[in-house]
């Protein structure tokens, strides 16, 4: 699903965020990406979502080299990737319904058509009754789940999450991870960047560890 071949990323200031990173996430696989702040987790996710381009090496999604995607095509690539952020990036002046419907409206759905799928998506994350709420009226965990509903509403084959549990207590974190497991079970590939080692240890998924831009461990987290 996602394949990195000797990928390096050096920012214009000369800082090397990623150094010859290679890995392959199989279709339908779920994995964690871990490392300290500044180890390159965010950069790696940005290369997949095409917010950045690699300095060297190749990034492939489903066998397609992202180098061949021009900047006009980037939006279409992002429609295939559900993205979840630590700060959930919801539009605060729009209702939950409008927030979650956004990816569908962009794809050309009418609001009526989108509504049904938004409802289904919100029910999946346990917020089926909060359509008319504004994000400010929800708790942190609920806001994060709205973000997840938005990421999965157009059924992308790939989910990327950047510190999705960063601001949540352990109980809520477990709930969020359970949601990812549900999506993974129906065939969605999931890559979760987190530095919450306790969470990773409990769950025993494949873990990619970055340290100072290098992949230092690819496999099950050692206890």
């Amino acid at each position: 699903m996602i394949k990195f071949e000797q990928v390096s990323k050096t920012y214009s200031g000369g800082f090397t965020a990623l150094n010859q990173v290679s890995f392959h996430l199989e279709p339908g696989e779920m994995a964690f990406l871990t490392g300290h702040s500044g180890a390159g987790k965010s950069t790696l996710l940005k290369l997949i979502s095409m917010m950045e381009r690699p300095t060297a090496g190749r990034v492939l999604i489903n066998g397609h080299d992202l180098k061949r995607i021009n900047s006009r095509q980037i939006p279409y690539v992002r429609r295939d990737i559900g993205m979840i952020f630590q700060d959930h990036r919801l539009l605060m002046d729009k209702t939950v319904l409008d927030n979650v419907a956004l990816p569908l409206l962009i794809e050309g759905y009418s609001m009526q058509e989108a509504r049904k799928r938004v409802q289904a998506s919100l029910e999946k994350v346990g917020l089926g009754d909060k359509l008319r709420y504004y994000p400010m009226m929800l708790s942190g965990g609920e806001q994060q789940r709205v973000g997840i509903a938005r990421a999965v509403v157009n059924k992308p084959p790939l989910l990327l999450a950047d510190e999705p549990t960063g601001n949540l207590d352990p109980k809520l974190s477990t709930e969020i991870i359970k949601l990812f497991e549900d999506f993974n079970r129906v065939g969605v590939s999931v890559l979760i960047a987190t530095h919450d080692l306790g969470l990773i240890a409990r769950l025993r998924y494949r873990t990619l560890s970055l340290k100072e831009g290098r992949m230092i461990n690819d496999g099950l987290q050692e206890n």
Binding site: R79, D80, G108, Y109
Partner: protein, 326 residues
């Protein structure tokens, strides 16, 4: 349509989004975005109205100047049409000779009509009108010559053709002197050209100013929505999709600004019309400004909308693309 996952594009077709439907939805979305951006403007009525007023009032000045030029053109051509040659006849001609000469001129194809002002009548009229009646009585003979007012034929009224006719009239045996006052016509023409050129330059400058003002306002709008634009880009919105509401905002500025321009132009013309009428009364003529007609109003409106659209287009082209999600 999915670029990376071929099987997904079939999945999307299963959710009934055919090409035709996409086309229809494109327009439905456009209409929705147009209404939404109007709603957005209504949320900040004062700020929106100020931009619209700037657009409208900037167009008012060139529109009013246009009306003035249009009206002066109309009078100018009236006067040019009526170009008359004044022919002073030699004093020693008899009534009979003058009548014959008048008839002869009337037969010429270059001349439309000839009006004979009899010297005796002219003297009597002058005596009544000027108040020199008793002084004139003292004169033993009439100092005025017979005068013919010659109106050239329709195709001989241009300054050059009238000049030729004037020369041929001067060479007639009966004619003492003939005059065609071209100088004031040429002066009027030059003045009109000056006003017209000035009007064009001013209109151009003001249009550029309008585009810059609208562009700057839209730029501020874009910056205030930075976060929203980033989120939209993250979930796969194309630049075109993000740009559209801002372009509609520009169009709305133009639509309302155009109406403001109509009203302000009408007001301005009503305001100066009194002054124009006062002047024309001094010249003993009945003249009043004609304002913009329906077609001209439509053109003014289209220009306003075009400028609004152009300003917003420049702003979105420059600024939407530079906002990239972090």
């Amino acid at each position: 349509m999915s670029l990376l996952f071929r099987s997904r594009s079939q999945g999307a077709q299963q959710v009934k989004i055919s090409g035709f439907r996409r086309f229809v939805m494109f327009w439905v979305h456009n209409a929705q975005q147009a209404v939404a951006s109007l709603g957005e403007l209504a949320r900040y009525p004062l700020a929106s109205l100020m931009t619209m007023a700037v657009l409208g009032l900037s167009l008012t000045l060139p529109a009013t100047l246009y009306v003035v030029v249009k009206n002066t053109d109309a009078i100018g051509s009236d006067w040019q049409e009526a170009a008359e040659i004044t022919v002073f006849l030699r004093k020693n001609l008899s009534q009979q000779e003058v009548a014959t000469f008048t008839k002869r001129l009337n037969l010429s194809p270059d001349i439309e009509s000839v009006k004979w002002i009899d010297k005796n009548e002219a003297l009597a009229e002058f005596g009544e009108g000027s108040g020199f009646g008793s002084a004139l009585d003292a004169l033993t003979e009439n100092p005025l010559p017979d005068v013919l007012l010659v109106t050239p034929a329709a195709d001989k009224r241009s300054p050059a053709a009238a000049e030729v006719l004037l020369r041929s009239l001067k060479s007639e045996r009966e004619v003492d002197e003939a005059r065609l006052d071209l100088a004031w016509l040429q002066r009027l023409e030059a003045l009109l050209n000056l006003v017209r050129d000035g009007f064009l330059a001013l209109a151009l400058l003001l249009c550029i100013a309008v585009v810059l003002i609208v562009g700057n306002t839209i730029r501020l709008n874009i910056n205030s929505k930075r976060d929203e634009i980033m989120v939209m880009k993250l979930v796969g919105a194309t630049d075109a999709y993000i740009q559209r509401p801002f372009m509609y905002t520009g169009i709305w500025y133009g639509i309302v600004g155009g109406v403001i321009a109509w009203l302000a132009t009408a007001l301005l013309i009503w305001w100066i019309d009194d002054a124009v009428r006062a002047i024309s009364e001094l010249y003993e003529s009945q003249f009043s400004l004609t304002g913009l007609n329906f077609q001209e109003m439509l053109v003014l409106w289209l220009i306003a909308v075009g400028l609004g659209l152009l300003g917003s287009y420049i702003a979105v082209r420059k600024h939407v693309a530079t906002i990239e999600p972090q």
